[in-house]
Amino acid sequence: MALMKVKFDLKKRVKLAQGLWLMYWFAVMAGVLVFSMGLFFKIELRKRSEMMDNNESHFVPNLLILMGVLACGINAFGGKICYDSLDPTKFSKWKSVLKPFLVACLIFNVLLFITAFLCFSLRLALQFTLAEGLRNSMKYYKDTDTPGRCFMKKTLDMMQMEFRCCGNENYRDWFEIQWVSNRYLDFSAKEVKDRIHSNVDGQYLMDGVPFSCCNPSSPRPCIQYQVTNNSAHYSYDHHTEELNIWKRGCRDAMVSYYGGLMNTIGALVLLVTALEVGVMVGLQYVNTSLTTLVNPEDPESESEGWLLEKSVKETFTDIMEKMKAMGKGNQVEEGGEAQAVATVS
């Protein structure tokens, strides 16, 4: 009733062990790949942590780094076991370790699968972080004289030019904040005083955007001030003008950038998980084929290998019973002790 039983002779066993050893080396390299991807993603997040208010969660890249290191270690160990399995004397010292090792591999694969799933779902969390972070960054755009925030203007300008975006959701976000510092406003001018009085917070709001919102592909020189005022510019209609400034919001742009990155990393981690499951199955076959030799003294005899000793259902019920027995074992001991204590006294 064993699951997926396969007959093995010496030649087949040797071939399996050699092939598996090679696959384990590929798996080690895959582990290094996962580690480096985690590192790369961590660096990318840190590069733009100012946009996210230094609030972003580094959980996923840290998990990827940990998984990469674990994968390297586990696969190197598995490769050593495979290499030794060709020699019966060397293999005998690993026999006792093999079963717990396989269980550990199984748990590791499950964790790897969960990591891949987390990668795909990071997008949503990032959206909220970015929305909050960008709003605050735009608020501090004008504070180039405040220590700690004096580079916010430069960072925001570079980001808008690099990602080809303007504002948080779109360019109108710039209309709602004061992005011109008071140091450069002439408070004696009537126009300035009017604007400041015209809103509750006393902020200098205007329908203008910074120069980094300008689109170089526009056929005409950039219109960044009085964007909504058609009469201020010749032959201009701000409803139909599409190429003047970037229409996309920076939150969308960055979410799609990071989302694309995470999708790629998640797909690669899934492939690595598949590889790990493959080598685990191979190791199980190596283990069972070497423990069921027809003639234990003769290394060249035939043997059988399987995935599970009994069918899936039976294995499952076995495990449940074992766990119940372990639990009952504790209870019986307690009862026995109480009795023993009672009889003594």
Binding site: M158, S181, D186, P216, P221, C222, Q224, Y234, S235
Partner: protein, 449 residues
């Protein structure tokens, strides 16, 4: 006896034993075969005496000590002495050393093939970089440098591949015979080819002036056509110039004032009914709308205040602004300077790499020359396992140069008409050829009329 010994040396030329320059050939079309003969003469000098060296009394006790021609012996002995003294950088080679040299050279030749590929790659990279910004450069000779590098890289691959094959065969003396004739021309060709590599490296360093001129004209034209976004063929210049200024953090050709001298706003976006516009257009000779403003791409992102791109020189137009002291508002560097620095950096690294490759090729060539001379001497001595000498030049530089010069002079004479008869080729002049050992004219056959 002599001819019998001579025939054991398959490379021996039996045609011209005399040391004097070759007699004039009536037919100069035999130059091809003559070149091989010539190349042997040029660098090996008088090695045609070397088979006769083996015939000297010390090596062959049975032969008579008579020399092939009456004029030979004193010259031969004196020449032997001078040869021993004057060979340039002579090195003794045992059989082992020769084999090792051949193997090492085989490996080095393959490494040289890789360096040839590297040269090709560098040329290709430079060509791509120049092509990327060809809209900003006017048509000039700047493409000659990457083309040269590409050609040199390909030829280097070919030459070193052949060299590797030759060196591989040099371990075996029988196989070497196949390549014997080809080796000396190969070495000479490679020697001249290394000059090409050197020229390529030097061109990298001298390209700067051409590039500066090209960039100056190219950028000036690009800025002039900045506003022509509706003309096919020029509609992307605005975007190119804007992206250039943003990426290289520069403004204008030599500085931001260059934008003050051209009209960079298209007439389509100028309201001709306004008085201010009409005034500006009238205020200069060519009717251009000039102003003290720059495009947005000139704005410096490190500026603490929002970018001032219009009315730059007008202090009163902006609050708390002095354009003389304001340094962070716009990019101060000119785009010509920025691009020049960028390309100069690339070309300096490429030039350095090419120089290193040149030195490597030269050393490989020296090794091949030593191998060639050692193998030839071994064949001359007859015993493939014996020791032999290898050198760079058989005689000293001066001697070699003199003999070369004489040969080239006489080569030139081949083309000249005999001027002793006042240039008239029709006069019958009795020839001064030797007609055998007695020098008797052959009997004249009576012509039957």
């Amino acid at each position: 006896m002599l001819t019998a010994v001579c025939s054991t040396f398959p490379h021996t030329r039996v045609s011209g034993p005399e040391p004097s320059p070759p007699s004039r050939f009536a037919d100069c079309s035999r130059l091809c075969t003559w070149c091989a003969f010539l190349s042997h003469k040029l660098l090996l000098g008088q090695q045609y005496y070397s088979p006769l060296r083996a015939l000297s009394p010390s090596s062959l006790p049975n032969t008579t000590t008579s020399s092939p021609t009456p004029t030979q012996p004193p010259r031969n002995k004196a020449h032997k002495k001078s040869k021993r003294k004057m060979a340039v950088l002579k090195v003794k080679f045992t059989k082992n050393k020769r084999d090792k040299l051949a193997q090492v050279l085989w490996v080095l030749n393959w490494v040289s093939v890789v360096t040839g590929i590297i040269l090709f790659g560098l040329g290709l990279f430079l060509k791509v970089e120049i092509n990327k910004r060809r809209e900003l450069m006017s048509d000039r000779e700047i493409h000659s440098v990457p083309n040269m590098l590409i050609a040199v890289g390909l030829i280097a691959c070919g030459i070193n591949f052949l060299g590797g094959k030759i060196c591989y065969d040099c371990v075996d003396t029988t196989k070497f015979l196949r390549w014997k004739l080809l080796m000396l021309p190969y070495i000479i060709c490679t020697f001249f080819f290394t000059f090409c590599i050197l020229v390529g490296a030097l061109m990298c360093y001298t390209m700067r002036n051409e590039l500066e001129e090209s960039l100056f004209l190219g950028l000036r034209d690009a800025m002039r056509y900045y506003k022509d976004t509706d003309m096919p063929g020029r509609c992307f210049l605005k975007r190119t110039v804007d992206m250039l200024q943003i990426q290289f953090q520069c403004c204008g050709n030599g500085g931001f004032r260059d934008w003050f001298q051209i009209q960079w706003i298209s007439n389509r976006y100028l309201d001709m009914s306004r008085r201010e516009v009409v005034d500006r257009l009238r205020s200069n000779v060519e009717g251009k709308y000039l102003m003290d403003g720059v495009p947005f791409s000139c704005c410096n992102i490190y500026s603490p205040r929002p970018c001032i791109q219009y009315q730059i020189t007008n202090n009163s137009a902006h609050f708390n602004y002095d354009y003389q002291t304001e340094e962070l508002n716009l990019w101060r560097q000119g785009c010509r300077q920025a691009l020049l620095e960028y390309y100069t950096q690339i070309m300096q690294s490429i030039g350095l790499t090419v120089l290193i490759i040149w030195l490597f090729e030269l050393s490989v060539l020296t090794g091949v020359r030593y191998l060639q001379t050692a193998m030839e001497n071994v064949l001359r001595q007859g015993d493939p396992d014996s020791e032999s000498d290898g050198w760079l030049l058989e005689n000293s530089f001066v001697e070699t140069a003199r003999t070369n010069f004489n040969i080239i002079k006489n080569l030139g004479k081949c083309n000249q008409i005999d001027t002793t008869n006042n240039g008239d080729p029709n006069i019958d002049v009795p020839s001064t050829a030797h007609y055998g050992p007695d020098n008797v004219l052959p009997k004249q056959i009576p012509v039957v009329s």
